[in-house]
Symmetry: C2
Subunit: 197 residues, 2 copies
Amino acid sequence: MSTPPSPSRRPTAADRIRQSARDLFYRQGIRAVGVEEIVQNAGVTKPSLYRAFHSKDGLATVFLTDYQHCFWDRIALVRAAHPEDPHAQILAYFDGLAERSAAPDYRGCALTNAILDYPDRTHPVRQEAARLKHEVRDWLVERAHQMGATDPERLADGLILLMEGAYVVGQAFPPPGPAARVGDCARLLIEAQCGPR
Amino acid sequence: MSTPPSPSRRPTAADRIRQSARDLFYRQGIRAVGVEEIVQNAGVTKPSLYRAFHSKDGLATVFLTDYQHCFWDRIALVRAAHPEDPHAQILAYFDGLAERSAAPDYRGCALTNAILDYPDRTHPVRQEAARLKHEVRDWLVERAHQMGATDPERLADGLILLMEGAYVVGQAFPPPGPAARVGDCARLLIEAQCGPR
DNA sequence: CACGTTAGGTACCGATCGGTAACATCGTCA
DNA sequence: TGACGATGTTACCGATCGGTACCTAACGTG
């Protein structure tokens, strides 16, 4: 983030825009937010946005990668909490997801929302979101392999269905809805494919 | 649908608009489609739309109920194919879902998409979508009960997570993606909570 | 001091958005 | 024939969309 030399100084316009976009894009969806609202919320002006980013789509792409950093930070936390124990790592993530999905203004995963927001499969914003989703699947396949699943890809796919289901169901049903049980379901699915611990 | 007296006559403007909205809203999302595009695609004019529907939101609400009729029609099919056998009914629906999600232009469930399209929980279109989703859950709870699940609501919630996961994952991953396994996962979940048949 | 970088301010562009007013046209039925 | 309801035609409204041109103010560095 362009590493300000003095930490007490006002952040750059680009950083303020990124922060503003992160808030607004996540809460309201990318297409629903206008650039005018972004710059107003950031306390800067429109030319500053277009000096730092090529276009709204460019800013949206940056937003998605920024957002996904938060996901990997979460994964880093469960890894640190349960080193060398992929089983516990996965379950810790799913239990945390069940908790988060009960927040009254839960908005799920920004990548998933972006994919539904852009039906055109060739749109650059959508392609970036899909690329980042594939990375998540790769990570899950790896963990499923370490957990001794008979078919790691099959287990990973089942976990993805539960994750994505929780992302959207957390928005569709008032808490505590079906998303509150995503941890339970993940346990059942893992046990069925790896056997009891 | 206002039942035209002569089946060979040109359908009413309202019906043409409903059909056009069904196509466009489903393929591109409600907010992404303009009323101008709807009426052009229907071969009618804008005043005809506003004579038959209060507003775009009103048309969108009608679209959602129309769309959900297709869902219940599907359910009626699997019920007819497996009468008195809720287990087989559920699995037939999930296997069909796995197949449909592999279509190259799959766009998931219009209700789910509408909920993500309208982050404001008080928006009438979103409330209608949420209401229809609750009906689906009620139906699943009933089936889970008939299947002898130890906790019918828990099984229904798990199946909802898988369903909704398949709806969105079918769009996020090129086929055959994780959504292709939603039938397998449903089998595991049901077996774990009802025992083998 | 002179300079280039980074920023803000203002005003604007063409396009599209949802929605409406006023009037013309058609087919149907009494 | 005459009246009526449904539809088409045209033009328009104010608001918002993403994006840009032009100029000015503050700043650190040589």
